[in-house]
Amino acid sequence: MDNKSQKENPSGSSRRDFLKKSSAITAIALTPAIAVKASDLKLDEKLSEAMEQMPLNIEINGEMHHLKVEPRLTLLDLLRERLKLTGTKKGCDQGQCGACTVHVDGVRTNSCLSLAIMNDGAKITTIEGLAKGNELHPMQEAFIKHDGFQCGYCTSGQIMSAIACIHEGHADSETNIREFMSGNICRCGAYANIVNAIQEVKAGGKV
């Protein structure tokens, strides 16, 4: 805890402590002995934990999810760790590499910089939501054809960004593509191939 927050909260007690004190354990006036035992069993933790969960209604790849999540959970970790949608990648966890790019209501977004609860009511599309059954999205096809990747780890983010780049109207020239794809790092260096893939999809007019 930094100095500022300590000043504002001189007792050093956290929201969690407050929840514990005001939670059911106190409210239902248990006898002290039982309260001590409840504390030993970390029941107070469990109660406060339950109260810290926030409701989240979110549509991902066309499927509604009704969830309860901690406020500190990022959209990226919700996808990867809770929902096992691991196609979206964690490259830096601080909005600097683009590997975690998803579409939130159609807008490309670094999911590592977005808390899950900020997306209540939103429609999310991830790499897993692009193909229709066995039929790949034209951008996925173009990435394979032009070899727009090597190790494949940045690829999901590149493809999500590339589709958005066309939708935004930023794929009208090679220079613009390079500029508006510069938030997606590829350490293997497939950049030139990625540009070729985007140009072909743009010319195809299906996206």
Binding site: E81, G87, K89, Q94, G152, Y153, N193
Partner: protein, 737 residues
Amino acid sequence: MSKKHLENADMELALSRVDGRVKVTGAAKYTAEVQLPELTYGVLVESTIGQGMITALDTKKAERAPGVMAVISHLNTPGVPEYKLQNQDVIQKQLRVFDSENIYFNGQPIAVVVADTLERAQYGASLVKVVYAKGKSATSLENNLSRAVMPKKTKEDYMRGKAAAFKDAEFQVEEEYTLPSEAHHPMEPHSIIAWWEAADKLTLVDKTQGSQNTAAIMAKSFQLSPQNVKVISTYVGGAFGSALRVWPHEIVAVLAAKKVQKPVKLVLHRNQMSYMVGYRPHTLQKVALGASKDGKLLGISHESYGKTSMYEEFTENVLAMTRMMYDVPNIDTKYRIVPLNVSTPAPMRGPGEATGSFALECALDELSYKLNMDPIELRLANYADQDPDKKMPWSSKYLKECYQLGAEKIGWDKRKALPGAVQEGEWKVGYGIATGTFGAFRGGASMKATFKPDGTLLLQSAIADIGPGTATTMTIIASENLGIPVEKISFQLGNSTFPKAPQQGGSNTVATVGSAVVAVCNNLKVELAKRAAKQKADWGNAVASTIRFKGANLVNTDEPSSKIEFASLFGAESPNELVITADAAPGDEKNKYSFYSFSVHFIEAHVHELTGVVRIKNAVSVIDCGTVVSPKTARSQSMGGIVGGIGMALTEELVLDDRNGRTVNASFGDYHVPVQADIPQMQMMFVNEKDPYLNPMGSKGLGEIVIIGVAPAVANAVYNATGKRIRNLPITPDKLI
């Protein structure tokens, strides 16, 4: 020359990656994505001082935090059994994890917090309180050159002919070149999931370039029977050398899994990737060249001083290229390392040679201006027709063709010898070249093939694929050997229980593992022919080289009437599959020939007069790597080398705060790797001439030579554009204005 060489357009039409679909759909499961029941999360606590001791470690608050299952440090580690043994290898002495209160570098892992969710482990790690007795850390290379030592494994400095012979020459160049430390920064952070299936049985899903190497080291560290350690690395999201060994965080994960008796997942944060998994070490080089007026080199003296850690000697072949690249009678080299309060470096793409070539190839460029001689002509004047170090013939060398093809492609005749002579608007235009080379190696490998009556073939090898497209290349080799279409072949890799393979590093995968593919394909054909001979006698004479699969049949191309349905060749004992294995190993060819791959890189650089911004406008690489097996992926790998080399030349530099040894620019926001806007269209060319001796495919290595020589080519182009010679990378705008 006949058009055998490959250019961009030829390669775009070649076979696409066989694992392309799983990579573009997000279905490929990288290490941290493998699902296991009861998975727990480990988060490291790291030292915040560069040198000293931990005097107190308070973990109480962390232990009481919700979801936290264990806090492990030197106070309560289950221990690494190998540490207790005597006879520790003094040269390769990995940091001993949680073994004492000693701190050797800033960022050293000193504890791990394990919890049931990632958020809870991260919060728990923030609650660990550490008190230190702080010592004085030393991290500056330049300020600590007096600590330089000769590595223990080096017996003596190299000398050929006479020392310092350059001093007798009419034309001389004597300069210092520095390269900063550079981070590998593969896009996938290093990750591991460790669990103990039994008290003596360990399984890891791990980011590694060598599943069997990791398994062997883990077995030794934890004193387990080798067959009780299994390592899986099916998909590796890049590595560039950072995953060639077992790092402390991997040992930590195994210790943590032992403590909590559940699978532990540990993923490094991007910033930790700057100092926990190696880096190309900051290196200072002194080079002196001496030549006669016709450009003939009389002597080269080359010294190198590189960083290493306090606990381990890291060395790389910085001076190897100097000793073999040019036909020079007198060469002396001196290699030293400087132990500092830093973590141990690691080989990074083109290890050694990428560093050494920056000094050597820039110095040659400087000499070319002193001689008023074209830089390509200067290199041709010193062209080595045999290996001048080993005094052996090259196995193959098409470097002259590389110079010629590249000069035509980039339009070398547009280059003006006078620096700063070409201007386009506010931009000064220059051209540069540099040569790259790296040893072409082949090791031993085994392969398992499972062939089925429906004509499908499964190949299995422990080899990793960190990105070059190994499964694709191996599939092509098998398909070309057998005649089975690529769609019917699958190649499984990245598992220590599969047949023997080396680490994926040092550009030897195709030569080594590809040879095992050829061997197993040949064995399969011979076995089927043996079975066919029981039905038709003329199959008795068939040899592997003339047997082909054609549709549902096996054909002996020497006897066109010989065709036989291969489905009829499965015996009663195994009617559904035929399993064949093979071993492949190099012979004595390396006693007869010197094996190297070669590359030449051409760069057109534009430098903004006012701001000093450098833009690479065109890049051409011409490569002699023997036969190109998989043109599309080879082309991509070469482009990646250019991109890495541009980063090395223009932006990449790990900066330490020498007051405390902390990495100042650990994030992607501060450590600048090239992005889309930095990279031009590039033209990759391959000579595509077979090497007759290294392996049956005729291939040599590719992964290293594509970056070796790129940074000096950029520096030489910047000089040609501006007349400013930048000898300390990266060439940032402040150095040009």
